[in-house]
């Protein structure tokens, strides 16, 4: 396990790369999902309120 984590002495380069990928790609996915939920709730509720008024 320790040998795997050491990555032949390149641990800093390999694991930092994977960490950046996780942060950036995971961040985009989470941001999209969070934005989707916010917009969905507000847009649908606004549309329903508009329909009730008319």
């Amino acid at each position: 396990m320790l040998e795997f984590l050491k990555m032949g002495g390149y641990a800093f380069y390999v694991w930092t790369s994977y960490s950046f990928a996780l942060i950036l790609l995971g961040g985009v996915v989470l941001w999209s999902a969070s934005q989707s939920r916010k917009v969905r709730v507000s847009a649908i509720r606004r549309a329903q309120q508009r329909r009730r008024k008319s």
């Binding site: 795997f4 990555m7 032949g8 002495g9 390149y10 380069y13 390999v14 930092t16 790369s17 994977y18 950046f20 990928a21 950036l24 790609l25 961040g27 985009v28 996915v29 941001w31 999209s32 999902a33 934005q35 989707s36 917009v39 969905r40 709730v41 847009a43 649908i44 509720r45 606004r46 549309a47 329903q48 508009r50 329909r51």
Partner: protein
């Protein structure tokens, strides 16, 4: 005969289609990602020249490919929007941009972390790296333009023109290692005489490419749904939806 294509121009149809596809794409993405990472990080042997540092390839190459793929989707959608005024095409282009920018940033950063132990430098202004950096600027410029002008229609049009003009950078990125004397290594997979990579290393790489493709399309479906709701908030079909589930 091709009337079914017209359905893809319908906002409610695309909204529902994206909603049905997104969970499947996400699930398949997780499975292929886990399998690709296991085969790439644990099973694949070390490289005889680069040792274990070559394992950065399993995120760097898929990210670089997807950075170009996402831009092609953005450029083609923008061209469709400009020519046929199809609003859904503009939605797809706008949805694609941040995802493509993220892939480009990952490609540049992981390339840098791979370059330092291999080339002895974090960055070099060679053709491949510089054109990939230009791609990131194109993505950022596109996203900035979308919010820059007074009218949404004007912003959409200006951004679409930038996307279409910027597509010339894609073949430059791809062929840069052949046209110029670059530090970046030439292609090992997309070659006329077949890949030069051993199957034990190639298999996880192709799995990771597939995983990144699924990630892109999953995220694209979510963003397309969000943008459709934003633009169609006054439409009657939106009022029929459940705010908690979106269906």
């Amino acid at each position: 005969m091709f009337q079914w294509i017209h359905r893809f121009g319908s906002a409610p149809f695309m909204y529902r289609l994206a909603g049905r596809l997104a969970p499947w794409l996400g699930g398949l993405c997780v499975l292929t990602l886990l399998l690709g990472l296991y085969l790439g990080l644990v099973v694949a042997p070390a490289d005889y020249e680069q040792g274990e540092s070559y394992r950065i390839i399993y995120i760097h190459v898929p990210a670089a490919w997807m950075s170009m793929f996402a831009y092609m989707v953005m450029a083609i959608s923008s061209a469709v929007f400009l020519v046929w005024r199809l609003k859904i095409a503009d939605v797809v282009a706008e949805a694609s941009a941040p995802i493509g920018a993220a892939f480009t940033a990952v490609a540049l950063i992981t390339g840098s972390f791979w370059g330092k132990p291999m080339w002895g430098t974090w960055w070099i202004w060679d053709a491949r790296l510089t054109s990939e950096l230009l791609l990131l600027f194109l993505y950022l410029g596109y996203m900035a333009l979308r919010g820059a002008l007074d009218t949404p229609q004007g912003s959409a049009r200006a951004a679409a023109i930038l996307a279409v003009v910027g597509v010339v950078n894609i073949p430059i990125i791809h062929f840069s290692v052949e046209w110029w004397n670059t530090l970046h290594q030439p292609a090992t997979i997309t070659r006329m005489d077949g890949p030069t990579m051993h199957i034990s290393m190639l298999r996880p790489l192709l799995l990771m490419v597939l995983a990144f493709q699924l990630l892109y399309f999953h995220n694209l479906m979510i963003r397309v749904r969000t943008l459709i709701l934003q633009r169609e908030s006054r439409a009657s079909w939106v009022a029929e939806l459940n705010p908690d589930t979106g269906h």
